[in-house]
Chain length 903, copies 2
């Protein structure tokens, strides 16, 4: 094999890489190379590829042969461009070393800045810049950062303060300095020495003075940070494969903190929260880039840059337009101004909220920047959720304002309405959420350490930081409600409370946060339907007056035009069926009949049936259920018009209908007029060790054909009545838990007979199908035989996962999270279809089923039907439709469209 | 398609069929054709093929076109041979109409004799035979039989007596007749009229006088009887496919009941109970064949026939020799002597006990009649069980004799020792056995209606009937202990008791029955090891003095020479391992380690581990278990010498080791020094809804790697110690419930590390393998990936059946029997591998596993490994070995040999 190219250089208008090499160079690297190519001012540097990361982890953290030479050559190229030398005492080259994975993982991995400084080069820097204080401040920052990131000097206990910060504070006290900036060059020089001494004391290591050693230390640390806890958690949440790895970017330093003609900033080519088409960003004068994102200082809006530094601003405005039209997508850019010269440090497709994703995609189609198909690919299907989430009830918000419950207003960084209990620590957020509490995480600012807490919170509220701060960035990406820079908040972590003017909010107090306006309100504020739902479901909003609805509707229309597989809904509730119809469902893929068996009179009749001593008794009880079931079916069939409604015959084991507690048993015995002993005997007799694998599904209908008979009669009586009213219902009778052809044949015979009787009685014909749920491994293997008796299959992937993997969903909670963390399963197999295992069973089932019956209709009614990844899989294996919860219909439609476009 | 031939004629030395046409002509038909061909005296007739039966059931009980003409032609041929005419008033032809399936199903289906009689032809018969009484007796019998079998006049209630018998009794009373034979021709003529009137009254049908109508009625009844309840139950027990169908044989009647120069009998060419080489059978003078089998009269031994009718006996003796050497197997023959002329009515391979099967097979090899391979095919593997079953302790039998507890002696029809409670009705036997009682079914005689009761009884004891009676025949076939013709018993069904001299035995009293001697003893008699076990296991019997052992050993040797797959044993008990070694096992295929976790000190340590709050606590508890587990493993590894011992790491969910009842919880809490609440919390926390699919198998070892570590260390410490003693143990570590490659990899890493540490510590190497149990559908599908980490696979077909079919073995009892009865599964899938479903998963697993690793060792350790059908399947799909319970090793070996020979 030819030697792989491991290092790609860029700078001075030329670059070895380009935008399409994301996989190899990472997102950041590809962006730097591409910007260089199109003439943006980018400090020169080079990228070490993700292949090296893969090699690194496959070979016990060794590097491939030849890498060292390649890095040296690339470094020499940078030296040549800038006319500086790495480690040179007079005109030293300083570099940054940054991670950069294929997908952005903001703040999750490590970075080292100002690398190349030592007691000799710092003097060169001081001389060159004529600014010894700046030089020693950079040196101090470098030693601190390197000591933490590369050498690993961190607080031992969570309660301990950062050892470097402790020394810094001490120094400031000694010098009676209020801010860092009050320290002199000499103070900073002393600090460098004290930092190094602390490192030596605590870790027993000398701080490396050799810049080359520094460089390789930093490269190793960045590759190593791919597998730190934060990064792993982040990848898990965003389903980023562990195998991708990160690239490392080594780039000449530019400084935004050399004086007042310097600045640093982050900006978006459009508003990442709302999608508005306006240049949107923030900057800080005389600061390093990290200061903006860290949220320690609240930065100034980008528009003000124009006033402060007109020329660099004009250049930035020009470049942002070039970048957006070059990338044809909203860009998230980072820049630094050094001595009034603009340098671009990053461009990437900007993360955005669901609202912004829809708006930007649709706007860009209108602006003819992209086509409809590209627009469809631009939105994560799950992001549509945000458009459907409740918003605050304007009346109740007004009441809150009247009652003076609006406490403060921050920057609206993540739109939406959230209500929850105040917590101040990420760990608390996680813990409280696990026990079912809704919490709002309130922080002065957030850091990458807070990631798990943010995942578990309803909303994030910070006192400091701007719209591009870490909190805002992560929240937008997660679609979380978020308000940042709410300076009125005075948070006291120690007391677990926050003060807003004279109001004190303690941990556990309720607040409401409006991420669309930035308002923070005391107590719970009522919510109402989202704009989209107000238009399509309650018709309480005029479609013309809602831009959100209009863009949503456009998008769904495009998705409908493109997708190849149908989207149905799982429901047995008429009101849910109405919601699904409003979302444009194409039928019901799973109507469970057992939910109809609960509730007052019905459950009594069901219990009577179970307790009956013989067929006669069972028939009498079933006769009571018949008219009720018929009305249920009539309701749903009527709502669904002429769309197919797949109705599953009784599935759960009968013991689910009997009481569990002593008390309930006594009560039922009284009501039913049987002895408590007799009832207990029956409960005992029906008890099962593994109900999942027990007497349920078609096994019930085979033991008690009269139950199937009653249900089929109810379905067809209902359908016939609708038919007589001139309607055209379309029931599909689905037999559950079939493992053999014979089972289905037996149930089919009963179904055909009962259906024919109903139709004869009413004198009408009803369009219908008879089929089965494929939810056992054996059914997949025997699909060829089973298809002889089935006009349709519907994969019950919940049970197929349970049986195929031997994994009880009710019990797996104890170890499944650990399994996903260990990479045993890439995803929770109950969330996304286990494609290797369950997916293989499905492939076998589809192939064998269609071989017997070419026109076999095949769908999925497991909960996976609403999971975008699983929808894509269903498309790939050739299903006719997916079926999911009503509220996931738009999501499934978009996922289906994307699946079709990906082919 | 060419018209099929539906009717095959035989008679007068010529036959259209032959022995090899069993499938088409049934066993009885093929025998009649073959005997005709080889010159035996067979009354002429014809066979309607099993194809017609299949057609009959596929076409709503219609016959194929052309059948009527073919039957008429065949009947004409018989008329021509005999010079008689069917329905002729002067010289009428009478025929029998009998069933005959591919496999004999004695007494299960219907038969009609003397067909062709009516008021006209009976006169012809009377004239021709010069015996009006005989003619009218035949007519009476015919009307009675036809009325029952074809027209269906049977008792309505079980308690009702046979309506024909009631009329017969009334007639006898009226005539003061004691026996049937006391009735005159005229009485019998009157009876015919009364029978017909009863039929008309009860069924509203006229008795058909037209012989052709009679014939078609009888043919339809025989085909119809293929699906009567008895026949279905019998087929189920003997695994005869429903699809085979029966043939119908129509044959000219010969009469054994025309006078004292007439007789009828049943005989075997060798003793079907013991296998002794002697002509063995029974006869009755002046009787119809049915009388012998029905067991109503106890017949005379065949040797006496020589004295009564020398010439026919000589002819019979000659023919039986011809038949045995022609068929090269022990024959079961039926004959009738009419007017001193011998007629052969049937020959078939005789059913025999396990003892007889082994003896006949081995003897015939010694006699050079058959080869070893044929001998191996002659024995049902399960029959070997009989040679291993305990026999009565001679000392305790002597004591019983001294105490006068030997009550009676009958004919030893089914060898073996049985002890149980007396019951008198088949239904009781079934019911008592179902609740776990051991019962002995005591009857005056048995009939096909008793079949279910016989299946459920430990032994069958009858007061009447000979060695060829129904009871003897069925018991031999089932391998049941059986004593017949024990005339000293006086059974009173009404009082549910029996008298033997002055002793009264009531329902529920204990008796012991020796089927090898015919003795019936009161109370329980102790049993000891079988002869085979006395030789090979306890060495208390000299092999030379046991013919049974010697023949058994020869057979097993032949099986070992022929079979291709290995036979291992499932055991974790040293004593069972010794038994398995005595049976010639080739290793242990499954040593469960959890059984070693129960008992005194161990269970406490296990509980301590479960209750430990942290890793440290768990390690402490495990350290206590380590030396005990090591000793267990050392014991078993030592016994097994250098044979492989597959040891499975901990499999069951941890809650199995915690107490279930309140009382036990309190006790344990006290012992462990924890609060009852804490313990209850733990029990609650570990509770699972579907433990089968829960936190078990390798999932435990992944959550708690220290458990696997301890177990592996115990295994290798034990093996190393043996190695140091100069032995050569061969452990195979088996990881259970693997679904993914990663799981196995994680457990394999732990195993390799712990094994290496042990070996290093002891300074020796131990031969070993690491592999996995394949017991989840996903594991079969992913076998290619899993095989990367596995040196061997062992199919856990118990769990693979549970998950593949979605069927909990603990819960399926409620509906699975019904499933087998309805033909949904051909067999209980927990007894014989479900070849279509589970078998397909295995085929996939084998193919994919071997594709990755050519030399992958693959076995089975589910309980199916001891089921002969499943062994054959395992051979077919190419497994390396099966593993089964110690006592099933010889059975599995024979089954494996047969599987190899069938290829």
């Amino acid at each position: 094999m030819a030697q792989k190219k491991y290092v790609y250089s860029f700078g001075d208008g030329k670059a070895e890489g380009k935008a399409s090499m994301r996989e190899l160079l990472g997102g950041k690297g590809a962006g730097l190379h591409e910007m260089t190519r199109i003439g943006a001012p980018v400090p020169p540097g080079f990228t070490i590829t993700t292949d090296v990361c893969t090699y690194f982890y496959d070979h016990r953290r060794q590097y491939p042969k030849g890498l060292e030479g390649d890095v040296a050559a690339a470094l020499a190229r940078v030296e040549k461009i800038l006319g500086r030398k790495f480690g040179d005492g007079e005109n030293p080259l300083l570099v940054s070393v940054r991670s950069g994975a294929r997908e952005s993982m903001p703040g999750m991995m490590d970075t080292v800045l100002n690398l190349g400084l030592n007691d000799r080069t710092v003097e060169g820097l001081a001389t060159r810049t004529g600014n010894p204080r700046f030089a020693y401040d950079s040196y101090r920052r470098f030693v601190q950062m390197y000591g933490d990131v590369v050498l690993g000097l961190k607080p031992v206990e969570k309660t301990e303060r950062d050892p470097f910060e402790v020394i810094l504070e001490r120094k400031k006290e000694a010098r009676h300095a209020r801010f860092d900036t009050d320290l002199t060059a000499n103070d900073l020089k002393e600090l460098v020495g004290e930092f190094k001494a602390e490192i030596k004391k605590r870790l027993g290591k000398d701080f490396p003075d050799n810049p080359k050693e520094q460089l390789w230390g930093a490269i190793g640390a960045v590759f190593g940070s791919w597998n730190n806890d934060r990064a792993i958690a982040y990848r898990k949440h965003y389903r980023i494969p562990d195998a991708w790895g990160t690239a490392v970017n080594v780039q000449a330093m530019v400084f935004g903190n050399m004086g007042d003609n310097c600045a640093t900033g982050v900006a978006f080519t459009r508003d990442p929260a709302t999608g508005d088409k306006r240049f949107y960003g923030e900057f800080l004068v005389n600061a390093q880039g990290e200061d903006v994102v860290a949220g320690i200082r609240t930065p100034r809006p980008i528009a003000e840059l124009k006033e402060v530094m007109a020329k660099p601003y004009a250049e930035l405005d020009r470049i942002r337009k070039v970048l957006e039209s070059h990338y044809k997508d909203m860009q998230d850019i980072e820049f630094t101004i050094e001595d009034s010269k603009l340098w671009m440090l990053q461009t990437r497709n900007g993360k955005r909220t669901g609202f912004a994703a829809v708006r930007i995609a649709v706007d860009m189609v209108d602006e003819k920047i992209i086509g409809k198909e590209q627009a469809l690919m631009r939105i994560e299907p799950d992001q549509l959720n945000q458009l459907l989430r409740p918003i605050f009830d304007p009346d109740d918000k007004q009441r809150a304002a009247r009652d003076k419950r609006v406490l403060a207003k921050g920057l609206p960084a993540g739109p939406g309405a959230a209500t929850g209990k105040v917590v101040f620590h990420a760990e608390d957020a996680e813990e409280w959420a696990k026990r079912g509490e809704r919490v709002i995480l309130c922080r002065v600012e957030t850091s990458p350490d807070d990631i798990r807490g943010m995942i578990n919170a309803q909303a994030i509220l910070t006192a400091r930081g701007g719209m591009t701060s870490h909190a805002a960035l992560v929240a937008r990406q997660m679609g979380k409600v978020c308000v940042v820079g709410c300076e009125a908040l005075n948070i006291d972590y120690g007391r677990r409370e926050m003060r807003v003017a004279d109001v004190i909010l303690k941990e556990g107090d309720w607040i409401s946060v409006d991420g669309s306006t930035g308002e923070v309100m005391r107590g719970e504020v009522k919510t109402i339907d989202s704009e989209v739902l107000q238009v399509i479901l309650t018709h309480s909003l005029d479609p013309k007056s809602s831009r959100v609805y209009q863009q949503y509707a456009k998008l769904i229309k495009w998705a409908d035009d493109v997708r190849k597989i149908g989207v149905r809904t799982n429901t047995d509730q008429p009101d849910q069926a109405k919601v699904a119809m409003a979302f444009g469902t194409e039928g019901i893929g799973l109507c469970r009949t057992e939910h109809m068996f609960f509730g007052g009179e019905r459950i009594r009749a069901v219990q009577e049936m179970i307790l009956a001593e013989n067929l006669e008794g069972r028939r009498q009880a079933l006769a009571k259920l018949l008219p009720m079931q018929k009305e249920d079916f009539k309701g749903i069939l009527d709502i669904m018009g002429n769309l197919p409604v797949t109705i599953r015959t009784l599935d759960p084991p009968l013991h689910e209908f009997l009481p569990k507690t002593e008390e309930d048993v006594v009560e039922l015995a009284e009501t039913m007029g049987v002895s408590v002993e007799r009832l207990k005997e029956k409960v005992e007799a029906l008890h099962e060790f593994n109900p999942m694998l027990g007497h349920r599904g078609c096994r019930l209908g085979i033991s008690f054909p009269e139950i199937t008979e009653m249900q089929v009669r109810a379905i067809f009586d209902a359908a016939c009545e609708l038919r007589k009213e001139g309607k055209n219902p379309f029931p599909e009778v689905m037999i559950p838990l079939v493992a053999t052809e014979k089972e289905l044949k037996l149930q089919r015979d009963i179904t055909e007979k009962a259906a024919a009787e109903s139709m004869k009685r009413y004198g009408v014909k009803v369009r219908h199908m008879i089929g089965t749920m494929i939810e056992l491994p054996r059914a997949c293997l025997m699909a060829g035989e089973i298809a002889r008796e089935a006009e349709f299959f519907s994969f019950g992937t919940n049970d197929l996962t349970q049986t195929g993997l031997g994994l009880s969903r009710d019990d797996a909670g104890k170890f499944l999270p650990g399994y996903v963390e260990k990479g045993i399963y890439p995803e929770d197999p109950f969330v996304s279809i286990d494609e290797e295992g369950v997916g293989e069973l499905m492939r076998i089932g589809i192939e064998r089923g269609r071989k017997t019956r070419k026109d076999l209709e095949i769908g999925i009614c497991g909960e996976h039907g609403g999971d975008p990844r699983s929808v894509e899989f269903c498309h790939r294996v050739g299903l006719d439709y997916v079926s999911c919860a009503a509220f996931r219909v738009p999501i499934a439609k978009l996922a289906a469209a994307q699946a079709a476009l990906k082919r």
